[in-house]
Structure formats: structure tokens, C-alpha cells
Subunit: 278 residues, 2 copies
């Protein structure tokens, strides 16, 4: 049935199957192959109909297997909204008003893991890939959140991945988020948010992850702070200051509180200081 | 010159023009139209050459005007990486190893603006569009950050936009970020981060923005808290508690500190408690 191509010669007014969205718009979720000429005729008829009905945004989701229909949608005035490996979403604003179609995702989210043992040593790594490669700089483990991953989960996962394999790695417990940084034009014009997380180590032996990390070690905080880059560059310097504040004054960050949605049963997490919690 | 189509019959080994990236990959930034058959031949030749050279990731950026080449790139094994209104980025991992191509942006970032005047009144709105439409709920102004916009800038902009036009609106000064929430599967499978920001009002007259907001008003905190939704739903309840903590105990959130990049002169902002700052 994957090749169930629709015949040429559809009735003049046959429309593309569309669902309505919550914003007076329509969504066409194309699943089966279609002759490009038939697709074009149906799209033209659908657009006329949607305009008559006062629809606002129109969306077409094209799986990568239907890449041959992209050109047609663009010819009819659709533009790219976003893409994921397996599909492309196109959008079109029907009324003669300013488009209210929301923007695509704008941020990548990363975590930076601050892990200290009780000897005032910081867990640091030297990376094999990326911007820091070849600089010789020892830095805290960092990594990108996976799709749908919580900050507190991603933080412990990254430390595990960067310090070992299977059972031989550093297990940690999430403590709190102590700071975050927002940076623009980070990759492909997108922005980056990195959450600096404090983690409590539960194990201490390091078996480095060969594919990503050059080296990993416990480093006395003073030695970390003595790196020229720490002296000169704020983010490194602040990490040192945060560690000292944690050790010497017990500074606390924000912890996640599970909350439910107004619209469904979904749980999300609100991060704030303990003092603000009920 | 925009129609400078390359002739069919290129030499057998002519390659697509490509730049190297920082991760042993190549980027083809297509700008001019090209015959699809020529494009296919050049892409095949290029892929063979890149493989010989040990390249890893291959990228093709296709402006929307070259939508006719999407199908060819997909036929040669490329998949969609991300798209913006004016272009589609395709990617391909050349080695026989697990792809190390980074994910697309995963989060939308919003701000929620908590604005109180000195009469213990909270600035609240009722929305004309979106999920809250028709519920009658009074909520704090919220909005999506624009591309490249800082959290502290977006917060004051949104309050301005939702409470008036031109000079008749509520001007505010950013105070701090008091909490944030991370929520998954928020739109198109992407996640949402909302930063709750405290803002100090500098003006008080409301002239609502017709296209987005139904109503806007200063509401006594007790009246906001008396809405059934506040009683039942955590995010609303926490906003009330945050307001009370701010009024009664002077709780402080995190403020942005400008920091410079290690790699260029770019300024970004690190948000953390005042106590951690130098």
C-alpha cells in the first residue's frame, strides 16, 4: 500500500485531506505518494476553499519519501517552517494580514556539569572534538540535551558518557542548577542555553569515553583555576567562583518541582529556589 | 546572473564547490540555479571524492528558490537537518560510523512577565488567541523570544506589546529571573522553556494591543489568587507564591552578567544570584 499512487484525472474540486488546528488553521499530513501534477491541482483547489472558509495558517507535512512534492508546494507559495530528519513542514499564511505563524525552535539546550569530590577536586575533561580540541584546556563536562530530555536527567547522563563505559563511569546525583548562560548565533544562526548544574559524585573511578573525550580526571580546584584561560575568561572564572561559593558558603541553586499541566496530565518541571516552594 | 544555469555536459569529475567546517566535514552552500541532472552528477562525484578524503559530515544548504534540487539530494542519501523560511539544510554522514551530526534546535524559549505595582496589583491579560482563549482566565503576559533576543530584552518587549501601542503602553525595567520551567512535546514535538521574569513598572496606563490580547488590567493579587485555576494548577499557584515572597520577604532571583567568549568578542549573559558575582 506504500505505493498507492493516486490516479491523474481527479475531479476538479477534490481537496487535500486536512485537519483543523487550534488557531483557525489547517494541517495536511501527507503520507502516501501522489503524482506531482495531481498534488498541484488539489493544492490549488484546497487553497481556494480554505480562503473561502476564512482559514488562517495552512501547513503541509511532507515525509522525506515525498521530497518530489516540495517544489510544488513552494511554487504555490508555501515556505519552509521547520524540518526534522524524516520530514519537512511547510507553511502558508492565507489572510491578507501579517502572518501569525509561530517561529521554529530557536535554542539548543546544553548542560555543564560541575562535579566536585570532598577533596576540593573538580571533574574535568579535555575534548577530542569541537571548539576546544587542541587547546589543551581542561573544562567541565558539557553536552547537548537529547530531544525530550529533562535538564536534571541530561546532566547525569553526560557525566556518565564522558567519564566511562557501562559500569565503569562516574555516577552522580543531580543537586541543583546554579546558573545559566544564553548565547546567540551559536550554530546555524540559532541560540544556545547552557545550564550549569551541580552534581554529587556517587562513584569516583574514571574510564574515559574514547570517541568523545581525550582525557578526564579529578583536578584540584586550584590547578583548574591556575589555567591561563580561567584567569582571562569569565565563564571559566565563574565556574571556579561558583565552586568556592558552594564549598565555603554552601550557596544553593534552583531545584526542579514537578507540576501538572492545565490542559492534560503532562508533568513538567519548575526550577526555582527552595525558599519559594510550598 | 540569477539565472546563470550551469550547462549540461560538465566534465566527469567536476565537484560541487564546498567549504570545510570545524568538524572534518564539508558544506555546500548552493546559491545559483542548476540543472537537476548536472547537480546529481556533481553530487555523486563530490561524495566519492569526500569519502576518499576522509570527510565526515556533508551539508547542503538549498535556498527555497532551489526547491527542485531537494529530491536529488534525498535520492543521494541526504536527510533533512533543519529548515528556516528561506532555506533547507540537508545532511549526510559519510563514514561507516555512528553519525556525530548535531541535532537541530530543540527548544522554543518564552518569557512570562511578573509585573506588580506598589498597590499589590499584578498585571494580567486575557488572550484572544492560543490555548487560553475562551477560558476566561486572567494570566501574566507571556511571549516567545525573537531570534537572537536576550531574555531580559524579550520580557520588557512583550509587556509593551501586550499592553498598548506606541507611547501608550506599560514600560518596565527588568529586575531578575525568578524561576524557569522546562516542558516537552510542546509544539511539533519540540520542548519549551519559559523564564519567569520580575519586572518593575515605569508607567501604569494600559491601552491593550487589539490583535493579540483581549483585555489587560491591574488586578489585586488576592483576586488573581481567587481564580479557580490558581487554586488547582501549580504554575498559577506558584506565580502567586512568588509574588508574595517578593513582597513579603524580598526574595531575589538571578540577574544577567555580561561575559565575553573565549573564541571571539561576542558578549553573552550568565544569569545567577548576585551573591555569586565578583
Amino acid at each position: 500500500m506504500g505505493q498507492n499512487v493516486v490516479e491523474v484525472g481527479v475531479p476538479k474540486f477534490q481537496l487535500l485531506p486536512a485537519c483543523e488546528d487550534d488557531h483557525e488553521g489547517v494541517i495536511v499530513d501527507m503520507k502516501e505518494p501522489m503524482d506531482p501534477n495531481v498534488f498541484q491541482a488539489m493544492l490549488k483547489a484546497s487553497l481556494s476553499q480554505w480562503k473561502l472558509e476564512g482559514k488562517k495558517g495552512a501547513w503541509i507535512k511532507l515525509p522525506i519519501g515525498l521530497a518530489n512534492l516540495v517544489e510544488i508546494a513552494v511554487k504555490e507559495g508555501f515556505w519552509y517552517h521547520h524540518a526534522e530528519p524524516q520530514y519537512l513542514m511547510l507553511a502558508y499564511w492565507i489572510p491578507d494580514t501579517l502572518s501569525a505563524i509561530p517561529a521554529n525552535a530557536t535554542h539548543q539546550v546544553r548542560i555543564g556539569a560541575i562535579v566536585m569530590n570532598d577533596k576540593r577536586e573538580l571533574l574535568v575533561v579535555r575534548e577530542k572534538i569541537g571548539r576546544y580540541w587542541g587547546t589543551g584546556i581542561w573544562k567541565i563536562p558539557t553536552g547537548i540535551l537529547e530531544e525530550g530530555e529533562d535538564i536534571f536527567t541530561g546532566a547525569t547522563r553526560e557525566v556518565k558518557e564522558e567519564t566511562g563505559v557501562s559500569n565503569h563511569c562516574i555516577n552522580t546525583e543531580f543537586v541543583d542548577v546554579i546558573a545559566f548562560r544564553q548565547k546567540h548565533r551559536y550554530f546555524f544562526g540559532k541560540s544556545d542555553l547552557i545550564f550549569l548544574c551541580m552534581l554529587q559524585p556517587l562513584s569516583f573511578d574514571i574510564h574515559k569515553q574514547d570517541s568523545e573525550i581525550e582525557e578526564a580526571q579529578w583536578m584540584p580546584l586550584e590547578e583548574y583555576a591556575d589555567q591561563p584561560v580561567v584567569e582571562n575568561h569569565c565563564i571559566f572564572k565563574h565556574i571556579k567562583d561558583i565552586c568556592l561559593a558552594k564549598i565555603e558558603r554552601g550557596n544553593a541553586g534552583w531545584t526542579p518541582l514537578p507540576i501538572t499541566s492545565l490542559f492534560n496530565d503532562q508533568i513538567s518541571y519548575l526550577y526555582m529556589e527552595e525558599d519559594l516552594k510550598p
